[in-house]
Symmetry: C2
Subunit: 488 residues, 2 copies
């Protein structure tokens, strides 16, 4: 379930040893900085060294003890950096062989967040709606957005009110590229970033381009977001469900699927909540290169990590194969219809031309307002505010499940706006639970709605969204459901 | 060039006479109102009576003298109403046979404006750019828009920040429907109005739907907006150029084109500036019914009429065959990317579903701001302000052409943001004129760039945009061009 750093047969042992090693002390330029910043600097320097090719695949890294001594930092800081980069697929490690540079990273910079879920129609008579996909709309920073709008209208030159650049306002593309590189490790060149109306438009744009290039199908995660399938189907592509296990897409079915494009959610898979293992991330990119294919990375809730440093975006490992997409739908409001895609060089022109004919580009004033929010630090403040609120709600959900449905195990809790709750069989079958909940004015969504696999263990698996509900509403909704179930 | 009300062989003589006549006095409910308002009320009542079927096709109308006496109004008011409705195709008239109800109007209400032109890349070294397609961006009402944004952010319920209705915010659809009915006579049911990002997206949405329905091609006006062809081509439809004469699309080539859809600009044809004759409007709708086809009416500058009441939108004559589209690109700013389409009932669901997969709907805050501007009267004020400015600039252009290029004839002056200037052959050939202008820092666009027809009379035909240039800049640009030409 957690990222794994173990070797596989495919990974192979390290081929180069310390004889070819670079000057490790160059990795940590900010030697006088506080430990936290130095840890981050070390991670960034290592990542950059792998991407640039300065540390080629197979290079064996010093032991954490040795590097810590070389750099004059704590050993924990080096261990953390190794673990983080292993989780992201830049490094590989094995208990026996130490740590070495993986074979997956390609030149570029780093990757960030986007989002499935999408609009759920309100159900009549529902008091507490645990279905996933909606952020808390009351957290939208009205005052900050109003201030950004005022600033924009006061400063924007007249020319910026004309037909916009279909790629997006240059000032926003630069601001987003910097933000995505910093927050998500996206290799984000502003010239390859296209502002769009969100992940749905990104999928439609990519699907349309792939269809025109002769693609006939696209692989989607199973279980996965039904929206992905619907969007690609609308562009004329057949969607092929590809089974997941607890590490990510299973390589065999992927290889046999007959597609050259897949859409994935590797940082916090939707709906299962798993983070893909480093090995599976690497194998997916190997596959993409082999079939001359593309991966759409929907980083739908990369903004919301609660317990540890985020796993960097897959895109950072190979910007020429991965299309990265995200939006402000979870961080600000879906109603803004504002998102982005970061594209491989080979796809930029075709996607921009489709964006042009689709709508001539995104509204300019909203773009300028978001650029102001990002560069002024207001967007980071908003993310911290949401993160605090959502972590508190997640904790309330975990506590409430323990109180009202003892024995429930919960996964996918490290990030995002939903978890998977696995209720013991005694609360089932699922139909009975859903009916009891509905009778109590509570809407729940079973995991089986998101794919074909139904484990036969009798357990009841639910996808529980919590971000839009306050702690007391969460507890009350669970209590009412448990009571109603007890009366049956 | 002006709307013609003469009978044709196809129109036929009136079939019903005064024996079947309704109570004419019911046509003018506001009997005590001032003359101007009564004239408008009479036109609206007559239009509505034809549309509703209360005045069936062929019904002979009383003479203007008789109706004026019946209603107790001036004869001029009745004559004006007859002329206006004849221009719009609701009535037909003949010097010998009087006036009768035409056969083209179908049930519904009335139609409004949209816009070709689109973005023109700035040319290097250009001081004065007479190429059409750009409004004056400095006229964007920043204060009014900022006030609308403030109001919206202060009042909008949180729920309106969620995933929007893909058709558009209900409050905006109602406001636009009322505005389009009032200003352009569009039969605008809010349930058939879809908010989109402008005419380009409207064309892409319609093209995608028609392609999915099995259409292979779409007819475009020749000369016409090259943007129409490009947009439909991107949806996989072949574009078939259809020749125009001074009354509109020529019926023969249309019938032989093998298409079941056309895109037209009947109120102020782009680029020629003609208003289609009533007969041609009727024949186009007859054709659409016969082939079970559709017409996209791009009412790109219906907002800007200078000398007489606007010709009502074609859509009002048959809302089941005509897709009406317009935007705020000329009235507010292209950078807002905000427009609308009014759809036949049979196309609504398919277009809305495409809109949904294309971008999940238009940004909510901008929609709410426009709704506020329209319902508060601010949008009408803005249109009046633009109209005053653009009329003044048009007059400056006409004066300047007369001064610096005597002998030039100008057409298409009744509306819009451009005219056609036909310069005597002594200023040609066109290449020499364009070079001289470019040398003087003046960009001009010849009519021949918009289509295949090149008259052999040696005259130099230019499409001259003036809306974005002040009167002094207009005069100075023409003066410099004439001087540069004189030095050659």
């Amino acid at each position: 379930m957690t990222p794994s750093g173990t070797t596989s047969a495919a990974a192979g042992p390290p081929a180069r040893d310390a004889g070819a090693q670079p000057a490790w002390e160059l990795l940590l330029p900010a030697a006088g900085a506080p430990a936290r910043r130095r840890g981050r600097a070390l991670q960034e320097a290592l990542r950059e060294a792998v991407r640039s090719g300065r540390l080629p695949a197979g290079t064996r890294l010093p032991s954490s003890r040795a590097l810590a001594a070389d750099l004059g930092v704590s050993r924990g800081l080096v261990t953390e950096a190794y673990e983080q980069l292993t989780a992201e697929g830049y490094l590989r490690s094995d208990r026996g062989s130490g740590t070495w540079v993986g074979g997956t990273a390609r030149t570029g910079r780093a990757a960030a967040p986007a989002g499935p879920g999408g609009p759920a129609a309100p159900a009549p008579g529902v008091v507490t709606d645990f279905r996933p996909g909606t952020p808390d709309l009351s957290l939208f920073p009205r005052a900050a957005w109003a201030a950004a709008q005022r600033t924009v209208l006061a400063r924007l030159p007249h020319s910026a009110l004309g037909y916009p650049d279909p790629r997006g306002l240059p000032v926003l593309r630069s601001a987003l590229a910097a933000m995505l590189a910093r927050r998500r490790g996206v290799a984000a060149d502003p010239d390859r970033l296209v502002v769009c109306s969100g992940v749905a438009q990104a999928a439609t744009l990519l699907g349309t381009v792939l269809r025109a290039r002769g693609h006939r199908g696209v692989g989607v995660e199973d279980p996965g977001s039904p929206e992905h399938g619907r969007l690609f189907a609308a562009t004329g592509l057949e969607t092929v469900p590809l089974p997941l296990d607890e590490e990510g897409l299973r390589p065999g079915p992927l290889a046999r699927a007959g597609v050259r494009a897949v859409v994935v959610t590797p940082s916090h898979q939707f709906p299962s909540g798993i983070a893909w293992s480093a090995e599976r991330r690497g194998l997916l990119l190997d596959w993409a290169r082999e079939v001359d294919g593309h991966v759409l990375e929907d980083d739908y809730d990369g903004d919301f990590r609660y317990d540890r440093a985020p796993v960097g975006a897959l895109q950072g490992l190979d910007p020429e194969r991965v299309v990265y997409t995200g939006s402000v739908s979870k961080s600000l409001a879906p109603g803004l219809r504002l998102g982005w895609m970061v594209l491989p060089g080979a796809l930029v022109d075709e996607v921009v031309e489709r964006k042009r004919t689709m709508d001539l580009g995104h509204p300019a004033l909203d773009q300028a307002a978001l650029a102001h929010l990002v560069t002024s630090g207001g967007y980071d403040r908003q993310l911290r505010r949401c993160q605090r609120a959502y972590r508190e709600r997640r904790d309330a959900l975990l506590t409430g499940l323990e109180r009202h449905f003892p024995g429930t195990s919960v996964t996918g809790i490290a990030a995002g706006l939903h978890v998977i709750a696995c209720l013991p069989a005694r609360y089932g079958p699922v139909g009975r639970l859903l009916e009891a909940a509905a009778g109590a004015g509570v809407a729940l969504r079973p995991l089986e709605e998101y794919g074909s696999a139904r484990p036969a263990d009798g357990a009841v698996r639910l996808v529980v969204g919590y971000a839009h509900l306050t702690p007391s509403v969460i507890d009350e909704g669970l209590r009412r459901t448990a009571e109603a179930l007890g009366r049956r």
